[in-house]
């Protein structure tokens, strides 16, 4: 198996929120699958970190969990984005872009000729 990237601390919640924004309500397994697919299977998602992250987001009120029947009639807990979650996503996305821009500036630097 090719070496996979670890999910950065703090970026997981951004991925979860964005996934829910794009795809609507999803269960934990679905979220995990989608994140791995979106990354082109370059990311290894540790399940041990996914569920605590989901619970944290739920406790902070950014997502809401609800038990429903899944596509093949299995009971699963579906998570949906809340209004607060939408705002939080916008905030995090802005922060992330800024950080990415800053980092990009650093890579754009050329050695100055003296």
């Amino acid at each position: 198996m090719a070496e996979k990237l670890e999910v950065w601390q703090g970026t997981l919640s951004l991925m979860v929120l964005r996934t829910l924004e794009v795809l609507g309500p999803l269960h934990g397994y679905g979220i995990a699958r989608r994140i791995e697919e979106t990354s082109g299977n370059r990311l290894a998602l540790n399940y041990g970190t996914l569920y605590p992250a989901l619970l944290k987001l739920e406790q902070e009120g950014f997502i809401r969990g609800e038990w429903r029947a899944s596509e093949n009639n299995r009971r699963a807990k579906y998570y949906a984005l809340t209004a607060a979650g939408r705002k939080q996503l916008a905030r995090e996305a802005r922060d992330w872009r800024q950080t990415a821009d800053v980092i990009a500036e650093f890579f754009a630097m050329r050695p100055e000729s003296a």
């Binding site: 397994y29 995990a32 399940y47 041990g48 619970l55 406790q59 899944s70 699963a76």
Partner: protein, 870 residues
């Protein structure tokens, strides 16, 4: 995170925690269900991709490897982690312990003894050392006395007292004296201990009265009506707790006295003074010095050092005459707590230290025991780690087990401590200060909880640290149920055992010295025979026995007592060990005072009665009367001092009331059990005049209790208005005098013995472990024909090396520690060869025994069983 969202999160978590407590099962189920549905969906996906059912399942489980960790991590996030985890850990620990009841019982019992002994010692230390006095700001209450050439008299002369009361700025002073009074109650007259106190006394101690007021300046003038303050104990017992007692009169010493107040029970003790009367100090006549007890309170801003300095500066030294020297009296200022309990403090602190060491030794044993359990549970731990249980949660589980055990130990220990404390009080009331104040209180509870927590950490910490260290793969692959945890752990256990042996030896050495001292004290020749000897204090009131009628009363009492069955002889005199002897000086024609001579007035038959040895001449008899020439008896020391050339009998000397002829020389009687005898003169009490306060000595050959009852009956028959006389058994007086030594001897021996036993058990445990871990190897060796004797020797050798190390370190430790024993031994060198030989010898013997049992076991290993074990 903004403040608002923080509040929101906290509120949600609190709600979640609450739900958790109410329905933790439901929440757990929900989480499990969510994770299970995750797994199921993964398996379905795998099946869709064309995997076989088995493959699909394995791949999904592999991917979900961290599920246990996820579950724990989610739980930790959901509840209030501390409370939640604690409850769960305790539940796990309880389950783990219930599976091993023998181990749990051994640990709880060991801890109960260790914690119980600690709680009991702390109860006493708390009462005597930490809270000795029931007064506000007790550290500022001082006691003053004279020191004669550095020898503290315990009392202060009236001249010094007058100077200090008038001029001292650092403290306020009061004087008091103990006396006794007869209270007329419904059940008859009763003799009560009391204090005569000056008007400042109560203000200095600062305790508010329960009822009315205490004695103050209003009562100090000689014209004030007679007043008395009662103790709450006396008020409840003899006066039915009459709420309107203040202002009423009671009959005290045949006089009507007004009750001004009642002091609360904590102000005194059941054996202490029960009433207080005003003390009117009159100037002493010239040439007479009176002494009394003096207390004071430091004024604001003053320190003990400044007060002592001021007292020394104010008092011009008083010359005192001694043969060949002029000594000087100087005032001594110390805290009242030091005065009362200074002597008890050191042995108590020593015993406290010993009992803490004992607990440490016990904890070392338990840590050892837990380490063995860790080794045995290595596989269980490895499985937990492999399944994703965190190392920290594993350590927490072990700590929880230790905590559960130590809490159980503490609860049992408190019961042990209550029993021990009552045994302490029984053994030596004097050693525990005020027995009324020695009881379980909040401080003792807090201390016990602290000790329990500390021992939980001590017992659980090392195993908890080691538990996470094992190599999971190696343990799981080795396949044996009891994999060894390796050399590091074994070294730790050996170090613990060496430390235990060394510490036990230090305790044994201390116990040996104390035991030797105790043996010396109990084999002292007191100069009289205390068994079967009773001392009877007779106090006759002035009102009925004033004008010389005391003599006939005493003669009548003695005559009747001689007819009591079992009584062998009766005599008047100062009881031995009572400290009631006086002293006198004579002045020559130039007015120069002689050196003081100690004297004790005794009557005919006194020396025969107490069992003293008459060296020369005779003792007083019925031929010596007030009409015949004055006669005296001297002890051998005074005879040697006055007539170094010998032949004292027949010579005359200056007695307390004129020249007197020496008729006999007696062997010296000790003034105290541990005090050496001094020169003493015995005048004839019959010739000096029998007073209203006298002591009778009664020697009985019959049962002592029956004689005591007979004495009370005879006294009542002569004069029913008198209270029953106070009777003391001299054997009990001696026992009380040596009780503090017995206290230290019994307890220190007990602690040292238990320490040695625990150390031996520790050694046994380590060697047993060695044999168990090497069972397979030993089995192979035996199968290959190894000599069983050599195997025994190999194990024994390990034990001997550990014992030798422990003993050597212990001797070094004892050499360092023995200095504190110097003030606690009697007539025994701290390097007493018997003690220093016996301690190590005992320890080595016990160690050999502890090593021999596992060594024997090594030879009995059955090779077939040993090899089949795996």
């Amino acid at each position: 995170m903004s403040a608002l969202s923080l509040v929101r999160v906290v509120r949600r978590r609190l709600a979640a925690a609450l739900r958790e407590v109410l329905a933790s099962g439901r929440e757990d189920d929900e989480l499990r269900e969510e994770l299970e549905s995750h797994l199921a969906m993964h398996i379905e996906d795998n099946l869709r991709r064309g995997m076989s059912p088995d493959e699909a399942r394995r791949a999904a489980l592999l991917a979900a490897g961290g599920l246990t960790l996820a579950a724990e991590s989610v739980r930790a996030r959901r509840g209030l982690p501390l409370v939640e985890n604690l409850a769960r850990d305790v539940r796990y620990a309880w389950r783990a312990l219930r599976a091993r009841p023998g181990f749990a019982a051994a640990v709880v019992l060991t801890l109960a003894l260790g914690i119980g002994a600690n709680a009991a010692m702390f109860t006493v230390v708390n009462a005597v050392v930490l809270h000795p006095l029931p007064y506000p700001q007790p550290g500022r209450v001082v006691s003053l006395s004279d020191a004669d050439n550095g020898d503290d008299l315990g009392v202060m002369d009236d001249h010094t007292y007058a100077v200090l009361t008038a001029s001292a700025r650092t403290m306020q002073l009061a004087a008091y004296w103990s006396d006794s009074h007869v209270l007329r109650t419904r059940s008859g007259p009763e003799e009560l201990a009391g204090l005569a106190v000056t008007s400042a006394y109560f203000g200095i101690l600062g305790v508010r009265p329960l009822l009315g007021r205490y004695i103050d300046a209003r009562d100090s003038s000689a014209s004030a009506p007679p007043a008395v303050v009662l103790s709450e104990q006396l008020w409840r017992r003899a006066l039915d707790a009459d709420p309107s007692i203040v202002g009423r009169t009671i009959t005290l010493d045949d006089e009507a006295v007004t009750v001004t107040g009642v002091m609360p029970a904590r102000f005194t003790t059941s054996t202490g003074p029960q009433l207080w009367v005003p003390f009117h100090i009159r100037p002493s006549p010239p040439g007479v010095t009176r002494y009394w007890f003096v207390v004071g309170r430091l004024r604001d801003g003053a320190t003990l050092q400044r007060a002592a300095f001021e007292a020394r500066a104010l008092v011009s030294p008083i010359p005192v005459y001694r043969p060949g020297e002029t000594s000087r009296m100087t005032p001594v200022v110390m805290t009242l707590a030091d005065r009362r309990y200074g002597e008890q403090r050191k042995p108590l602190l020593l015993l406290w230290g010993a009992v803490i060491v004992l607990l440490l030794i016990a904890c070392a044993n338990l840590a050892n025991l837990t380490l063995v359990r860790v080794a045995a549970r290595q596989r269980e731990f490895a499985v937990r780690l492999a399944l994703g249980g965190g190392r920290w949660s594993l350590a927490r589980l072990l700590l929880s087990e230790a905590l559960l055990l130590s809490v159980a130990g503490a609860v049992l220990g408190l019961l042990v401590s209550v029993a021990l404390v009552s045994y302490f009080v029984h053994l030596s009331p004097a050693s525990v200060g005020n027995p009324d104040a020695v009881h379980l209180d909040a401080a003792v509870l807090v201390f016990t909880i602290g000790v329990a927590l500390a021992s939980a950490v001590a017992v659980g910490l090392a195993p908890a640290l080691l538990a996470g260290r094992g190599d999971v793969a190696r343990v799981l692959s080795s396949g044996t149920p009891r994999a060894s945890i390796g050399g590091r752990q074994h070294a730790l256990r050996q170090a613990l055992v060496v430390w235990q042996l060394a510490t036990a030896l230090v305790l044994l050495t201390g116990a040996g010295l104390v035991a030797h001292s105790f043996w010396r004290v109990t084999s002292i020749d007191l100069g009289f025979r205390p068994d079967g000897l009773l001392s009877v204090a007779v106090r006759l009131p002035r009102s009925t026995y004033g004008g010389g009628s005391a003599g006939p009363y005493h003669q009548e009492l003695m005559a009747r007592l001689r007819r009591v069955p079992g009584v062998m002889s009766v005599a008047l005199g100062v009881p031995p060990l009572s400290g009631l002897s006086g002293s006198y000086s004579t002045s020559d024609s130039t007015g120069h005072l002689s050196a003081p001579i100690d004297e004790a007035q005794v009557g005919p038959g006194f020396f025969k009665t107490i069992g003293a040895h008459i060296v020369q001449g005779r003792e007083f008899d019925s031929t010596d009367t007030p009409g015949t020439p004055l006669v005296v008896v001297v002890n051998t020391l005074l005879a040697r001092r006055l007539f170094p050339e010998g032949n004292a009998v027949g010579r005359t000397m200056a007695g307390p009331s004129g020249r007197a002829r020496i008729v006999g020389v007696v062997s010296a009687v000790r003034p105290q059990v541990e005090g050496s005898a001094s020169p003493l003169l015995y005048p004839d009490v019959g010739q000096q005049g029998i007073g209203r306060y006298e002591h009778l000595l009664v020697r009985t050959g019959g049962p002592v209790e029956a004689t005591e009852r007979a004495i009370v009956q005879v006294a009542r028959a002569i004069d029913p208005r008198l209270p029953p006389p106070a009777i003391q058994r001299m054997d009990q007086v001696v026992a009380r005098a040596v009780a503090p030594r017995a206290f230290v001897f019994v307890l220190l021996s007990l602690f040292a013995g238990v320490a040695a036993l625990l150390a031996a058990i520790g050694l046994y445990g380590v060697l047993s472990r060695v044999v168990t871990e090497r069972t397979r190897e030993i089995g192979i060796r035996i199968a290959l024909g190894a000599d069983p004797g050599r195997l025994t020797r190999a194990v024994l050798q390990q034990g001997i090396v550990l014992a030798a190390l422990g003993t050597t370190l212990g001797v070094l430790g004892a050499i360092a520690a023995v200095r504190v024993m110097r003030s606690l031994v009697y007539d025994t060198s701290v390097y007493d060869p018997w003690t220093w030989a016996a301690g190590p010898l005992l320890l080595v013997l016990v160690s050999l025994l502890a090593s021999y049992v596992p060594a024997r076991r090594a030879t009995r290993v059955d090779p077939i069983v040993a090899l089949r074990q795996e």
